[in-house]
Point group: C2
Chain length 602, copies 2
């Protein structure tokens, strides 16, 4: 079982930890210190060795930063974590602050004394963040100073060792492109940016570039490594000793050198006279300092792997189709079981999550789940980032909706699917809302659009049917998805902030929703692959479009056919016919019978 | 008759004019000079006294710039004017250049010699434009220098006198807000921008601010004046002697001083130590120079009148409804006449344009047309900015489409409407395309959307039905419309470049189209007023929406009902019922009968 369900406990010694940190800060002459949730790789997951924020505050959410002054301390979190932070962080020690409304710098400016020196670990913050902090503190006569050696680590006595799992090669046949080809693509991007080299700090960028995978983190099969790549495509990979698996050098081949991880900073510092491409958001401040100190010129720009990584090869697209077929069959088995068992009223959310993971494991191809399943029954479905624990587990009853958002990591692809089903008769208003969400999902699915269309444009098409009904959802419509890599990846985003044009080969989630607090949550999610451009029949101009990858029935019992237009009903019936044809051969007799009913034409 | 139909002639003496200008440049020690189409007010229309580009090159389009060097000269125009520029400008004198692909600075850098000094009139260019030019020329070792006194004016012997029509008061009752209230609104915006004053150079901004109108230009009833407004709302209006009509001082009241137009620059130069709000796009470079030279601090920002002007008052909205009722009746009379006469095959485009203007004049309320009518029969309908002249006039035949885009300036509002009708049986493919364009227009009309939604978002909703069919149109979906002011006004824009959020009270055009070169053009245009926010029935969140102002039948003979969804058909039938109920009482018996058929339910 990958997923666990322990309720995060409030440890007893947070107060002592905070005191020890304060003593260490005083010893170093610091008036304050920042403890972010991030590690040097700025990813969604951090290994236990970097879980500083959780160790200090007890808060285990995926975003946040603590600010420790001598006489007070604050924990900055975003809106979705307010409840969790209240439960996990001791209110006597930590003042909770909204991360987006009250920036850290403004709080320090009001809370610390003039002349205060606030430390930060230059490996844990990006340049943009530090520039904003420094400007704000300077205006208040204070200083933000990088520290040498994290003072929290100095007082963290039982700090776990950093992970260093052996790096695995990823087959060229699945990637569809050799690492040498990818290195040339990225080298060309570096040259186009007028730079001589780029420093890569995002694990999935390096994993993609070199056709390698790793096991340092849950859910994300990328190794925690750094890399430097020059404008001729030569790469130096910086890793921990344990990461260098047997055969790795042979897999990486010529043009890729291996050096110890702790030589990365010096290597960046040795680029005197060169122009170094660095990502202002994700590259640690320490690298900007090292590069400038070493006489390099800094070219700020996006990580040059992000865009080519997002544009899948034919082989990656084919792998994604295979993975979705396998995953769809597992989902169908699961939903068939759920339909049979749920009306009895005996199922809990944890039992459902376990069964779902078991179905995926039974494919014998599951490398990991792609994120902790969101299994929200009844009112829990309305909590967008709900993660069931022993403390919150809830029994599913007839007359309720069940929302399940989950996915698998397979060698040939990453999946992410949400289905919302009814147990018995749906609650009042649920069918209308479900049908409106379905219209939103279909609006994206059947959209055609010219080159240059952005994620925001697609997000608008999704929301239009809900907006007309006076409804909306407070999350994006979709995110990029990796190829046996991160289930969330950029640069594309189907959201209000999606400014990147969509390109053929990008995989996105398509997951509009509706949430009625205290009652139910609805989300329907398919993954789609941008395809084309091609000229639609009877048309004149080439248009991009979406191929739906996800294969799994959408609960017909929740659809009000009167609210669907002809094009929508036609799409749904064609989709269900396709799902049935694809999945039926993979299922047993009982499941096939269930599938036939679930996929019947509307 | 407001509209005229002369074909623009190619004057014989362009070559001599160019030679005289070159001699004058040589006399002043200039190696080159820019002649833009714009005047100091950067508007859509320029008076004859400022038609320098047309005088020099013969080109009469509404955008462009000429660059004159000693040995060569270029005319920069955008794509829609390629054909017209070829016809009007002598190819032996002028090299045609695409304005957006090859910026002026790059061309000069390649064409002039190192050390060249290129003059420009500081009143005819904005700061942003000049900064880009200077940077490009500096990189080539050249200089862009402002001139004192335009050298073209020095050789333009029969230059017309500038217009100076008496300024008319605009009733507070129609504006819905006194000038004193508006001055306080703008003063508050100036204070919010941290400035002490703003210089206003856009005629419709000043007209709106002071509740005045003018007759210096065709189509735009705003006087060509400048103004300064300070952070307390005190205004100085700079005008030509002839503009000061009897009673103007009394209308303007306390708090508004009148000074001669030629004192404007000195007034801006006298703001030592003050922060002056200037619009980088529209304010002449001369003002930036004067302000900086005088010791003012410059705060770059939007003209502070643009946003409040765009958000109509209740009185302006009521006036717009009245104007559209009157205009809709004129349109109905016109379309009834067209339906009766066109099948005979005897009508020309000019005859149609004349009849249309006559119907509007017959309302006895028409102050002007709001732009030159676009009357495109058959293939001429596919020319988006077509303007019929004696040289292009064409007879309309059965089996063709007729596209008519026109509008009126009434004291209570400005109208802009496009209808496309068929004469006899429509050409092959026209009904499908018309219905798809109608779907695009309805998608905007029935959209609901939250605060923060931009014009680009609405543009996307309009294009989606056409994109799905592989069709599109190469212009925006809509523009802002003034209240007895410019038929094109900002800051909102329903287009790919529309980044400004829509606000309740804004009036926009909604005019998707489709153009089949050499065959026909289709455009359907209504004006809409942003209304709300209110919570849609059965919904939870407040949403903005659109009230349709335009009242005129949409040609049912061009609609393929099978392509419409239920919501679309419902909207169309309800609209036609509303149009019939509103217009029938204003029409004679024959026209009423025609209207009844034109508005029958689908």
């Amino acid at each position: 079982m990958f997923q666990t369900f322990e309720a995060p406990g409030a440890a007893a010694d947070r107060s002592a930890r905070l005191s020890r940190l304060r003593a260490e800060l005083a010893r170093r002459g610091l008036d304050g210190f920042l403890v972010p949730r991030a590690d040097a790789h700025q990813g969604e997951y951090v290994p236990p060795s970097d879980a500083r924020l959780a160790w200090l505050t007890g808060f285990t959410g995926s975003a946040g930063v603590a600010t420790v002054l001598a006489d007070r301390a604050a924990l900055f979190i975003d809106g979705r974590y307010t409840l969790q932070a209240r439960q996990q962080a001791d209110g006597a020690l930590w003042s909770l602050q909204p991360l987006h409304e009250a920036p850290v710098g403004a709080w320090i400016a009001g809370a610390a004394k003039a002349g205060a020196k606030i430390g930060f670990d230059p490996w844990l913050h990006g340049l943009t963040e530090i520039e904003a902090l420094r400007a704000r503190l300077a205006a208040a006569g204070m200083e933000a100073a990088p520290v040498e050696g994290n003072p929290l680590d100095a007082v963290w006595e039982d700090r776990p060792a950093p992970p260093a799992a052996p790096i695995r090669p990823y087959p060229d046949a699945l990637a569809g492109r050799s690492a040498a080809e990818k290195r040339e693509i990225v080298a060309a991007a570096i040259r186009a940016a007028g730079a001589d080299a780029a420093a890569l700090t995002l694990p999935d960028s390096v994993a993609w570039l070199l056709n390698i995978r790793g096991d340092d983190l849950p859910r994300l099969p990328a190794p925690l490594v750094f890399a430097l790549i020059d404008a001729a495509g030569a790469v130096t990979l910086f890793l921990r000793p344990g990461q260098e698996a047997e055969g790795l050098r042979a897999h990486l081949g010529e043009g890729v050198a291996i050096r110890p991880r702790d030589e990365f900073e010096a290597a960046v510092g040795g680029l005197c006279g060169k122009a170094l491409l660095l990502d202002g958001q994700s590259a640690p401040f320490a690298l900007f300092r090292a590069a400038e100190g070493g006489g390099a010129r800094i070219a700020k720009g996006d990580d040059p792997c992000r865009l080519p990584k997002a544009i899948k090869t034919e082989a990656e697209a084919a792998g994604a189709r295979e993975a979705h077929l396998r995953d769809g069959a597992a989902m169908a088995r699961f939903l068939c079981w759920l339909d049979r068992e749920a009306p009895g009223g005996g199922l809990t959310e944890i039992a459902i999550a376990k069964r779902l993971e078991a179905e995926r494991r039974a494919t014998n191809a599951l490398m990991d789940i792609s994120f902790d399943s969101i299994v929200g029954s009844g009112p829990n479905g309305a909590i967008v980032h709900y993660r069931v624990t022993e403390a919150t587990d809830r029994r599913l009853s007839p007359g309720e909706l069940m929302l399940i958002d989950s996915g698998g990591q397979y060698l040939d692809g990453t999946t992410d699917i949400t289905r919302t089903v009814t147990v018995g008769f749906p609650p009042e208003g649920a069918a209308r809302a479900f049908t409106l969400v379905l219209k939103a999902m279909i609006a994206v699915t059947i959209a055609r659009f010219p080159e240059g269309t952005t994620g925001r444009d697609i997000d608008t098409l999704a929301r239009a049917p809900l907006w007309r009904a006076g409804l909306d959802y407070d999350h994006g419509t979709g995110h990029g998805v990796g190829a046996y890599l991160g289930v969330h990846e950029g640069p594309q985003s189907l959201s209000r902030r999606g400014t990147v044009p969509l390109r053929a080969g990008m995989i996105c989630s398509n997951e509009p929703g509706y949430y009625r607090t205290g009652a139910f949550g609805i989300r329907i999610e398919n993954l789609v692959l941008v395809e084309g451009p091609s000229v639609p029949e009877g048309g004149e101009r080439p248009m991009l479009g979406f191929e739906t990858l996800t294969l799994c029935p959408i609960d017909r019992r929740l659809i009000d056919p009167a609210l669907l237009g002809r094009a929508e009903r036609d799409w749904l019936n064609a989709y269900h016919a396709r799902v049935e044809a694809a999945l039926a051969p993979l299922l047993g007799e009982a499941e096939r019978a269930w599938l036939g009913k679930a996929c019947a034409a509307l």
